[in-house]
């Protein structure tokens, strides 16, 4: 095996490693539950602040939740209450809004 071939081989290793890393990075685009909860709340609160319309704010929050790959099901149980079910079997009740009890 020549030195040149070994160089090519090593470059190949680096390339494959980079590919693997990219795949993992794509998986990283799945937000954590903490990020989802915070972001949904932020979006809802901002929409309420802008429009004062709960239905519109809820639509915005639900649209955001729909985009999450790890969310399997969404149930709007109240005007500002959403229960989400994750693909791994976990669930979370989101009490949306900041100036609410």
């Amino acid at each position: 095996m020549s030195t040149q071939q070994r160089y090519i081989g090593l470059i190949l290793i680096i390339f494959l490693a980079a590919l693997g890393c990219q795949k993992k990075q794509m998986e990283l685009n799945v937000m954590t539950i903490e990020q989802i909860a915070a972001e949904a709340n932020t979006k809802y609160a901002a929409a309420i602040k802008n429009s004062s319309q709960k239905e519109k704010a809820m639509d915005i929050a639900v649209d955001f939740l729909k985009q999450q790959k790890n969310i399997k099901d969404i149930q709007v149980t109240g005007s500002d209450t959403v229960r989400i079910f994750f693909t791994d079997g976990n669930d979370l009740l989101l009490l949306l809004g900041k100036d609410r009890m």
Binding site: Q5, K54, T77, G78, T81, N90, L93, D99, M101
Partner: protein
């Protein structure tokens, strides 16, 4: 190599053997196959957080794998190249390692049965969706089909159809599952999403009309009064999960409620912040509280009410809270300035833990969102009112801290002023801080009010049979009801019930209480009570002695009286000094 001590399996066979060298291209192919296998092994090992040792291993291997670099005439160049290759390889390994570590999912897989239930629920939801949305079947028909399918499942014990076309499934192992299949939770385009419409009670509803006081009726010469519903205990609980969160009024609302209740003779227990957690929530029935004020985040669960208790969790908490009937939830924590997590308690929680003692005609006041939301009422509120509570109060939608705190403050001020629930609700309504609306549940409890209490210690010098323990006063508007509790079954000849109507510094009315009757006298001259205006029959039960005095007959047109008890023979007085005020 030293690195083999860390991960011997990953390092086996990477070197090009003499045989492989001799086989030329085939040998090289095998070598690269080994390299690829090695990378995979590295990834596996990296997932075990041993990537550093792998890197060391590779560095050592490369040193041994490039013998040509060690020739004398190219020694310097070889060293440089080796350094370059080792650096590249290190970077690549780091990239693989970090990718693997980033992708590591710390959340545990759901246990087998939970997974099975999840699959079942998914199947039911999907099938229901298809039947309703695609096949255009009627919801009740689709629901009946799902119920039938569920009953055929080997793990399912019972399926109940709840209000709102939801299904409640009981499994043979004791687990339960509520399936939201009703049209209020279904019908969206993609995910079956349909928000529950906000249902604001009509402001012209009878709730806001002036509530007629209970009628006093005369039965066989004795006044039997239709007493308003009122708590039978002078203990109160303030369970404030947000005392350290946003507070609008000053002093904080928890302290104002406490102050109001103490002035009415209540013994108030405060559970604040982390004290308002699951453990103490589970004990609410044990306290035999006449008034329970719960302040915190509330949610409409579509058939149930969820109340978020402390503590806050900065990250998603485990599914098992240690208690049944809890759901993980997130809400905005003003103290932390971030959305955080906690557990909400539900009807399942209350029906599991609030079973030791029935609520003593308690008044539950929810300073939270959705406390009386029509979507929440079938759950915890109904369970609580079916287990002894006389009334459940709360906002029928999402309420702000401003309206919540001010509304609560005003409500308890009105209670302190002797107003009934209907009058207090009307006062809050009149502020215009709505929607949402502060309402009561169930209907017809607007006449409920809080009694005024006064307790007295057990005095050793006084026989328990005539030693006053507790006085409870409540006015219906037409009569004043009093219940005197002794430290033992009462046995006395006479004690005096004095009423100061404000005309003089002394009492203007004297009620002479005997075992079998009581007589109401008006003052004719200072210290002389000779004008008998009423005779009644007391109620006796256990250690209690009760009487009902017609207000106008005894006290005239005054709107408030001051009461005290005195036993001349036993020398007991309640209160030991001063008096207890009660408003008409």
């Amino acid at each position: 190599m030293g690195a083999n001590l860390f991960i011997p399996s990953a390092s086996v066979g990477l070197r090009l053997t003499r045989g492989e060298r001799a086989k030329g291209r085939k040998g090289e192919k095998k070598f690269w196959e080994k390299v690829m296998g090695f990378i995979i092994r590295i990834q596996q090992v990296v997932k075990m957080s041993c990537w550093i040792s792998v890197e060391i291993e590779l560095i050592f291997i490369i040193e041994g794998q490039l013998p040509s670099f060690n020739s004398k005439n190219k020694l310097k160049e070889a060293k440089m190249k080796k350094s370059f290759i080792i650096a590249c390889l290190s970077i690549s390994i780091c990239l693989v390692a970090s990718g693997s570590l980033w992708a590591f999912n710390p959340q545990p897989e759901p246990p087998g049965f939970a997974k099975k239930i999840t699959e079942l629920a998914t199947r039911v939801h999907t099938d229901f969706h298809n039947r309703v949305m695609v096949q255009k079947a009627l919801i009740p028909d689709a629901l009946a089909q799902q119920k039938e399918l569920l009953l055929n499942e080997p793990d399912v014990k019972e399926v109940m159809q709840l209000r709102g076309n939801n299904l409640f499934v009981k499994f043979k192992d004791g687990n339960e599952l509520l399936m939201f299949l009703g049209k209020d939770n279904f019908g969206g385009e993609e995910l079956g999403i349909s928000p529950t419409p906000a249902k604001i009670l009509d402001k012209a509803s009878p709730m806001y009309e002036a509530v007629q006081p209970a009628e006093a009726i005369l039965v066989s010469g004795a006044l039997a009064s239709l007493l308003p519903c009122t708590p039978n205990s002078n203990k109160a609980l303030v369970f404030d999960c947000l005392e350290d969160d946003a507070n609008v009024v000053s002093p904080k609302i928890a302290q104002q409620i406490r102050s109001d209740l103490i002035s009415m003779g209540y013994s108030v227990t405060m559970q604040l912040n982390n004290g308002a957690g699951l453990a103490n929530a589970a004990l609410i029935d044990n306290g035999e509280y006449g008034v329970v004020v719960m302040r915190g985040h509330g949610g409409d669960l579509g058939g149930d009410f969820g109340f978020l208790v402390r503590p806050w969790y900065t990250s998603y908490p485990p599914a098992n809270s240690g208690y049944v009937g809890t759901i993980r939830a997130s809400a905005y924590n003003h103290a932390a300035g971030a959305t955080q997590f906690g557990y909400v308690i539900t009807q399942q929680f209350s029906s599991n833990y609030w079973t030791n003692k029935a609520f003593p005609n308690s008044m539950f006041f929810l300073e939270s969102c959705h406390g009386t939301d029509p979507g929440a009422l079938p759950g915890m509120p109904t369970w609580v009112t079916n287990h002894g509570a006389c009334v459940w109060l709360g906002w029928d939608e999402s309420v702000s801290f401003n309206c919540g705190d001010h509304g609560t403050d005003l409500f308890f001020q009105k209670m302190k002023d002797g107003k009934n629930v209907g009058e207090a609700l009307a006062a809050v309504h009149a502020t215009g801080c709505e929607p949402p609306v502060l309402t009561s549940y169930p209907a017809g409890k607007e006449h409920c009010k809080l009694a005024v209490w006064c307790s007295d210690v057990n005095e050793s010098a006084i026989p328990d049979t005539r030693d006053f323990k507790l006085l409870k006063l409540i006015s219906t508007g037409t009569s004043l009801s009093a219940k005197i509790t002794f430290y033992a079954v009462p046995n006395f000849n006479e004690f005096f019930f004095y009423a100061d109507t404000g005309g003089t510094n002394a009492a203007e009315v004297l009620v002479r209480c005997h075992m079998n009757n009581f007589e109401v006298y008006k003052q004719t001259s200072p210290g002389m009570y000779t004008n008998k205006v009423y005779t009644g029959t007391p109620g006796k039960s256990g250690n209690d002695y009760s009487l009902a005095i017609p207000w106008n007959t005894a006290f005239g047109s005054v709107s408030a009286v001051k009461i005290w008890l005195y036993d001349m023979a036993g020398k007991d007085r309640l209160p030991n000094s001063g008096s207890v005020s009660i408003k008409k």
